[in-house]
Symmetry: C2
Subunit: 347 residues, 2 copies
């Protein structure tokens, strides 16, 4: 981040003034269920009485999940909220209320904290949620942003990872690989250009759009058997769904929808589009399973709410293995996923 020498730093601006500013920002975007927002020991909230609650958290760390020279503070905040919204979407739920904790050095610019807060609030508001509390702490290390999100869903509609059955179709929303292509664009210094593919890929990587209305539409059909969001990529998330369901899966390589921006950028940077789409991660599309005869009705329901296209990419197997098959029936290797402690950074 380009920090003007005259920009006030957090330690000069002061914690109390910063918290007052956050409070005003958050209050401007309250939803009707907020009885009391930031400023007390806890927020006070009205949760619909005839729902089960959904609770999730995701933490983003500077140097691991984002870089300040690649993402603006607003984008960091947006993404930190979006990845949590995506988790609520993956249960078929509605997002409600979020709290966010941020640690950063006292020498960071006040605009850094403010931009992150604005991004958090903008993403929440876009999907009907409100930021109702938070914590801001000084630290000696990189910036860390942690968001927890409370949502809800009718108990009879909730979609877990564990319901997939042999014979089910495997369906994904949207197209894959754009986020990984955006990361490649950043690594290759392409962000300055005006190429539409680069801009689409950067947007997918920096400001992902969680599939909240799509997840809700899938759940409301009551026809899907399991769902999750593709945060780490098909190659790691599908095995997770299969493990929870006690099943295996076959993916058909040629059916996996590759984002056009991914295909175009892969060529430019010498990467393989298929790998970016299956193992790159961070697309935040939804993957769900359902009986084959239900696919078109669910896809219609999703497009009926203005949602992303849904594509069948494989089928659930009784045999507990994950297989990838090309159009001639040959087995292909499926790349393995991301381990947070395996040494890769700044993905």
């Amino acid at each position: 981040m380009n920090t003007d020498e005259t920009t006030p730093k957090l330690r000069e601006f002061g914690e109390n003034r910063m918290l007052s500013r956050f409070r005003r920002l958050a209050e401007a975007a309250f939803t009707p269920g907020v009885i009391l927002g930031p400023g007390d020991d806890t927020a006070i909230l009205r949760v619909p009485p005839d729902r089960v609650a959904l609770l999730t958290c995701d933490m983003l760390a500077e140097g691991v999940h984002f870089r300040n020279d690649w993402a603006t503070p607003w984008q960091i905040g947006w993404k930190a909220m979006a990845v949590n919204l995506s988790d609520i979407a993956a249960m078929g739920g509605e997002p409600g209320f979020a709290v966010a904790s941020v640690s950063m050095p006292g020498g960071a610019a006040k605009e850094m904290a403010e931009g992150i807060a604005e991004g958090l609030i903008a993403a929440a508001a876009q999907y009907g949620a409100a930021l109702v509390g938070g914590d801001l702490v000084g630290s000696t290390g990189p910036i860390v942003v942690d968001v927890s999100l409370l949502g809800w869903v009718e108990e009879e509609l909730v979609l877990r990872r564990s319901g997939a059955r042999p014979g089910d179709s495997i369906v994904v929303t949207g197209a894959l690989g754009a986020s990984a292509a955006g990361l490649q664009a950043l690594r290759h210094g392409l962000q300055g250009g005006s190429s539409p593919a680069v801009q689409q890929a950067l947007a997918a990587h920096l400001t992902p759009q969680p599939r909240v209305k799509e997840g809700r539409a899938v759940a409301q059909t009551r026809l899907a058997t399991a769902m999750l969001d593709l945060s780490d990529g098909l190659a790691i998330d599908l095995p997770r769904l299969c493990a929870e369901s006690g099943v295996g899966a076959r993916l058909w390589a040629e059916r996996i929808p590759i984002a056009p921006a991914c295909a175009e950028l892969a060529t430019r940077v010498g990467a393989e589009a298929f790998s970016l789409a299956t193992a790159g991660g961070e697309d935040y599309e939804l993957l769900f399973t359902c009986p084959p005869e239900a696919v078109s009705r669910i896809a219609d329901a999703v497009s009926g709410v203005g949602g992303a296209a849904a594509a069948v990419v494989g089928e659930i197997l009784a045999e507990r293995a994950i297989m990838l098959t090309d159009h001639e029936g040959r087995e292909l290797p499926l790349g393995t996923g991301f381990d947070h402690f395996a040494g890769e950074t700044s993905r």
Copy 2:
């Protein structure tokens, strides 16, 4: 922390194995409201339908809120959960479900992550809550632990900071300064000794006991007008309550209950017990206000549930100033509190 060279590191142990282990630890301490815990996109939870929800988060950062050579991983986890439980207590609520995010370097010992998880779960279980989800991320910096806690309370019982009225008595539970004395003991290297005062002070600092049953008892009397928890110390937290209530306060110096361990340690380390008790922070006692005639009934209710003693320490004024008066009526200076970005570390 003393790390044996043969202890497996997180990056060797692997993220998935670590998360599986956390899941088993958490599952062993589930409460009846947990429909689904860690392992899916979100937890699925049953929240009492006739309550308002309370949501809070608090983040602890290594080098700022804790030091690995002063606190065990278990104590770090305990405290991270306890400070959130204290926030729910301060609203008069009941804690329900927590999620926790932890970032730490891949080179950290697996036992570090495990100990933090065990401490988190132990503190939650002690106060009727369950850890239902989390995130574990690699980072290049110090350890950061962020907990979000969902609780609830009858809407008509909730106690905000904003209800204090001129003439109200100001009451605190327990005694103050033990936590700050514990920090002094650590700074002076006294932790190895067997002095009961040192051990009590260390326990107060490293494994605080949130006043959950006390807060609940206060709320159930319906006689208190405002409440908060003393996380940053009387000198900073009372002005916060007063600001929210649009009032001022007079504290009577000789009425402020100083923990015996604080008094004893202050002498040993050459600190002023009164300063530790009023400006040291992290006691996690409750401060509430109520009409003077209600004090004894509330104190009885608190002791009726086996809670800490309650002591009147001052009165609410219409004039918006915070004053401290000694037993001869002289005005004394009230130390100012802690700013997270003002440069002090490892408090």
